[in-house]
Structure formats: C-alpha cells, structure tokens
C-alpha cells in the first residue's frame, strides 16, 4: 500500500486572489511607537481629550505588560518600533467627501460594493475600512430612519461621543491583555453600531477590513451595542496583499447585548496566509468579547478562519444576565505553514445561562491548528449548561491538531458536556468520490464542506457561499 503521504501530501501554495496592492497615495505617521505617535494619531483624528487620555493610559499599561506566550504558536519576534501605526489614503483636497475611484475599484474587485445602487435593496450595509481609515459606510440614511447608528468608529466618536464613552472598554478593558492594550493605545478605525430598543435591524450590517500599505499594522476597533429587545446580524470580512513581510493585525471587538436582545456576529477571516514556505502573511492577534448583560440576551459567534500566518483569537461571551445564552461556531482551516490557536471562553455568571461550542478544526500541509477553550461557571450560575464539541480533521501526515479545553465549574447544579473527535480524510473517501467522477480537489472540498456543514449553515446566506468557496480555495494544492 502506498504511503498516504504520496497521495495526499503534495503541498503547493494555494491561490490567494485578494493578494493585489492598490496604488494609491497614502499619508503615514512615522514608524515606531511612543506617546508622540499616539498624540499624533489622536490629533489626525481630531479626538476629544478623554479619548487621548484613554489611549495614553492604555499605552502606559502596555509598556509594563509581557507578550503572552501560552499559545501553541511559534510566534516570531515582533519589533513594535518597526511598525507604522497609521496609514490612510490621501483625500482629494478639492473633493474631500468623494471616494477615490481607486478605492472604489479595490472594493469592487473584492466584491464589496460601496455604491448603494449596485446592491440589491436592503441586503447588506457595509463599513469599508482601508488600512487605518473607514472609506465609507453605506445605507447609513436608510438605517438612521430606524434609529440605527452604523458608522465608522471615528465618526461615532465625533457624532455620538456619549454612547462611545459609555460603552468603550466596558467589555474589554484597556489593560485586558497585551494586544488589547496595544490596540487601545493606537487603534485607528473600525465600526460602531447601535441598535435602539425594540428595533430589528432590517439588513445585515458588515465591516470589511482591507490592509494595503506596506510596513503598517492594522488596529481596528469595533463596538456593537444592542439595546433591549433589539436584533442585529453583523458580519465582518478581511483581506490583505501578498507580501514577503509579515504584518500585524491586532483588533478589539466589543459587543454589549442588553435585556432580550439578540446579536449574531459572523466572521469570514481571509487575511493573506503567507506563501507555501511560510514567508509573509498576517499576524492576526485579536480580542473579541461580548457581554450578555441583560436577562434573556443572546449572542452568537460564527467564524470561518482560513487566512493569516498566525491566528490568536478567542471570541468570548460573558453570560451575566439570567437566562442569557451564547454560541460559538467555528471552522478554522490551516494549510502550508499556517498556525492557528483559536477557540472561545464562555463565562457563566447568571442563572440558567446556556452556551454551546462547536469547533471544527481542519489542518493540512505542515500547519498547526489548536482549539483552546474555557468554560467557566460561577458559584451563582445555578442551572447553567454548556455543551462543547471540538472536532479536528487532518489532511495529510505532516500537520498537527491540538485541543486545550478547560472547564472550571463552581456551581453544583451546572451541567457541562464535552465531546471531541479527531479524524482524517481517508483515501477510501477520496477514492469513493473519484470513482463517482468527482476529481480529487473537488472531493476534498466536498468532504471538508460536509465536515464543516454544521458551522457553515449558521452563516448568513451570502457569507456561506463565499465561505464554502474559500475552504476549497484554501485547500488547493493540499491534495496531490
């Protein structure tokens, strides 16, 4: 019998079709990180004093912090003085309100229409972020009619300072962790979203993050507030050019879910993963956390992670309100030399809180893929329930899959279940597909799609189609 490696193990680099660079004139702050740089960023963005203070305070905390090293990751040293912390396309001084046609073209090419007329009515509103600034946010007026605020974070600071100040850093404090502190000091743009009481957001909201400039880092900050009995489905996507150098993306996302509100947060992460030899790619070091503050509130995370050289990301929920609930559905795919350490934390504080974790790891090539999760149940969380399912799928003999689940239960009436499986795409499955006329690459796509189906089916329709394609494309070359 031939070695499995002969058949499955032929690894070539996957096609990354978003790897182009937009040739646009940009303005930068000088390379490096110090209080002056932070003041400069704050000044460019014309921020109020309290926000500058918030940044400086975070920076001082960050300076005293150590880089976390507990991830199952071979993280290269990052020279934080060798990064440009702010890059923005120059505005045409005569037409400052118009979108540069080159940026328009860029987002068109990425399939993100910035022109509302081109979009089918009422489908998706987009906040498009290019390096450190938001280029535009579509459907703002339509949404405003319902009292929904959807704009860039920078605009929110100017137009809704009270709301921003009320909620900023209430879920992820500025000193939460090393990368969150860094983000709090230097964050540039991201999205702000407020759904008023009792309002059901009539369309999907989405943010699209694009890294373009060389030598820069992207530090997005997103804040979503769902007031009582409201509903919103929010999606984020992201891509970056192909480069030999690695680029840092350190985001913070905070979500506040009030009584009876329901938030669905979906991510399709497609940052440049680096080449087949592990050169380049995005270092995706991200803190995402939601607070189910009110009774009966609900937050659902769905993520499809196919990109980045390194992913360090644990979208988490604090279930404070009684009867609140949360889910984490994840597909994390790594190929070539990609590394992912991703999972979730479900912190049960309130009574009868429920959480469900479904994690599907897919490792191919020489990649390393880890699930890391914490289910913490507090003393007073009577009747709390968690169900976790962590599956790993291995493609080829050279990759690794790891699971680090932690359960801390301080409440006798809580019920916690954990299931885990590890499987391989077998030669027999591939041959069965081939015999029916399905070629090897399509067969792997089909099998992986089937494996990830439970998660993919949670995504909004337009995202699910893209995610399915992305899984296939990311595995291109994983089968010889």
């Amino acid at each position: 019998m031939k070695e499995e490696g002969d058949i499955i193990g032929k690894i070539t680099s996957a096609q990354y079709k978003e790897g182009f660079v937009t040739d646009v004139e940009q303005e930068f702050v000088p390379k490096g990180l110090n209080e002056d740089i932070i003041r400069t960023i704050s000044r460019i963005k014309d921020e109020p004093e309290w926000l500058l203070e918030f940044r400086l305070d975070a920076f001082r905390k960050w300076q005293k912090m150590e880089k976390p090293s507990w991830g199952h990751l071979d993280l290269p040293p990052i020279d934080f003085q060798d990064i440009i912390y702010y890059a923005a396309p120059k505005k045409d001084s005569e037409r400052p309100r118009e979108i540069d046609p080159k940026l328009q073209e860029t987002f068109d090419k990425l399939g993100i229409p910035l022109n509302e007329r081109k979009v089918l009515a009422g489908v998706v509103a987009v906040d498009a972020v290019f390096d450190s600034v938001s280029v535009t946010t579509t459907f703002r007026k339509t949404l405003a009619e319902k009292g929904i605020i959807f704009c860039s974070f920078s605009e929110a600071v100017k137009e809704h300072p009270d709301l921003v100040r009320k909620y900023l850093a209430t879920v992820v404090p500025s000193g939460d962790n090393f990368y969150a502190a860094l983000n709090s000091a230097v964050f540039s743009d991201g999205s702000f979203c407020y759904i008023p009481r009792g309002v059901r957001c009539p369309m999907e909201l989405s943010s699209y993050f694009r890294i373009n400039a060389r030598g820069t880092g992207q530090f997005e900050r997103t804040l979503i507030v769902a007031d009582e009995d409201s509903y919103v489905s929010y999606m984020e996507g992201c891509t970056a050019p192909m480069r030999d150098e690695q680029q840092l993306h350190a985001a913070v996302v905070e979500i506040i879910v009030e009584k009876g509100a329901d938030v669905k947060y979906s991510t399709v992460q497609n940052w440049y993963p680096g080449d087949a030899e592990g050169r380049g790619g995005i270092l995706n070091l991200v803190t995402k956390r939601g607070l189910c503050r009110g009774e009966g509130s609900h937050l659902s995370w769905t993520q499809v992670e196919t990109g980045s050289a390194i992913t360090w990301k644990y979208p988490s929920t604090i279930l404070r309100g009684d009867n609140s609930s949360s889910e984490f559905y994840s597909v994390a795919l790594t190929n070539n030399l990609q590394q992912a350490d991703t999972g979730t934390k479900m912190v049960h504080v309130g009574r009868n809180t429920k959480s469900r974790i479904v994690s599907k790891g897919i490792s191919a090539g020489k990649s390393q893929n880890s699930y890391r999760g914490l289910v913490a149940i507090g003393r007073d969380a009577a009747g709390a329930r968690n169900y976790s399912q962590c599956d790993s799928l291995l493609i080829g003999p050279l990759c690794g899959a790891h699971t680090f689940p932690v359960i801390r239960n301080s409440c006798p009436s809580a019920v916690v279940e954990h299931e885990a499986t590890t499987s391989k795409i077998s030669e027999d499955q591939l041959f069965y597909c081939n015999q029916r006329g399905i070629p090897p690459e399509d067969a792997v796509g089909l099998i992986v799609g089937g494996y990830a189906r439970e998660v993919l089916s949670r995504l909004p329709m337009e995202f699910a189609v893209e995610a399915r394609k992305l899984l296939s494309v990311s595995l291109e070359g994983a089968v010889g």
Partner: protein, 248 residues
C-alpha cells in the same frame, strides 16, 4: 460502435510486494452480463479495484482497453466519466455530505467533462426522484449524509441508486449481494436488469449463485489464485454451487 467494451489481456497486479492478479484475460462485449466467481482471496476485489483505478494497486504487466481506449492510463474520475461504475463491496461514509449534494457534484463533474452545462435544479430533483423511486429508496435519503448510519441493505440500495443516476456503460458489482436478504437482493437484481441494454455491460463479482438466479449472466468465469481458470455459460454457476471451487 465497437463491439468489445472491455478487453483485459495478461493483467498482472500487486498490492505492495504481493502479486494478486497473475495474468487475467477477459473480453466483455456490449450487451453482456458476466459473472466472476471465486473463493476468498482469489483476487476478485483486486480486479474491480484495478479496473476502477484504486491507487493502492500497481499494474505490473498486461493491458486493459475500455471502448477502445487505454483504461489503465486514465485517472479514476476519467474512468468514471468514460462510463465505468463500481458498486463498492464496502460503501464509504462521508459525514455531512448529503446524497443529494454528492450526486450533484458527481453529475456536475461528468457533465463538465463532457462539455455540458449543469443540470437545472428542477431537472436534478426530477432525476433524483425518478431514480430513488426506481430502487425503492425513501425520498428522505436524499437529505442524509452518504452512507452514514445506513444498514447493510440500505448501503447497497444506495449504490444501485447511484448507478442508476450515473447511467454507466460498464457496471461492476463487487459482492453487492453479500449479506443481503432476498428483498434487497431483488432490488439489486431489478436495478441491473432494468439497465441491461445492447450497448452496455455488467460484471457481477460474487461468491454465490443466488443473485445469478435473478440476473442471468451470459458468461460465468471462475477466478482462482489470480487467474481465470474456467469460463462457461450460466450452468457453470450451478456446478460451482454444487461442487465448490476446489475442482477448478
């Protein structure tokens, strides 16, 4: 149209170091049903695996032409597109992939290879319904993951369903009858009989005569120790049934 559909000449094949087929010669004409019988370890399943291109086997000598083309030069999927179908002895489970999605992918791939566009959703559904009814499969199976949790009989029925969907020129049934009760056996037989036509052929690989009572073969071959040691008409199956393989 060429009369000889499959022509196997002096076929030697091995798995690893071990030679299993030691010079198989077999000619199958369009319109014929051939039965290949033989004891355990004779090389029956190896023959079906080699014909369908399973990567675990190496052909060390001989040739196989299929409709005049060099079969051994084709990849497994190309063989499938050319009209070769294997009903697996042990159908494989594919979790999360529904029968419907699986058949859609299979049909799309072969239509693409033939330069045809995809079937419309309604054409596909109509075809699925028709073929499921043909093998007496409950329509709910279309939403079930391929072979996952199927009973032995359900798996074999699903194989015959796939055969009907893909409408092959040459069907190879690798011990499709093993472990089936009489009702399931009839489903398989009805499927094969309904697909008999002057331009198609079937190879039935089996231990037992039972299936051959329902699907009457034109030729019966005895495969033993990697060679076809005896060929004859359907009466040969009776000889085997009564006297076993030892006499060959």
């Amino acid at each position: 149209m060429q009369d000889i559909l499959l022509n196997i000449k002096g076929l030697h094949a091995s798995a690893g170091e071990k030679e299993i087929l030691k010079g198989v010669d077999l000619e199958i004409r369009r319109g014929e049903v051939h039965a290949i019988m033989g004891p355990n370890g004779a090389g029956k399943s190896t023959l079906s695996a080699v014909l369908s291109g399973k990567p675990d086997y190496a052909v060390t000598a001989g040739s196989v032409t299929f409709a005049g083309e060099d079969l051994l030069a084709m990849s497994p999927e190309q063989r499938s597109w050319a009209g070769l179908f294997l009903s697996f002895q042990y159908p494989v489970e594919i979790p999360g992939v529904t029968i419907s999605a699986f058949m859609k992918a299979a049909l799309a791939a072969r239509r693409k290879a033939a330069g045809l566009g995809e079937l419309s959703a309604s054409e596909f559904i109509t075809l699925m319904k028709e073929k499921m009814a043909f093998v007496g499969m409950d329509p709910s199976f279309s939403k079930r993951p391929v072979n996952v949790g199927f009973s032995g009989g359900e798996k074999k029925r699903a194989e015959i369903f796939q055969m009907a969907m893909l409408d092959p020129v040459l069907s190879i049934l690798d011990e499709t009858d093993s472990g089936l009760d009489v009702d399931a056996l009839k489903v398989v037989a009805d499927g094969v009989n309904a697909m008999r036509s002057p331009d198609k052929a079937t190879i039935i690989i089996t231990h037992y005569r039972k299936l051959l009572e329902y699907v009457r073969p034109d030729r019966v071959h005895v495969l033993k120790a990697g060679r076809i040691v005896c060929s004859g008409g359907e009466e040969l199956a009776d000889v085997i049934e009564n006297e076993g393989f030892d006499k060959f």
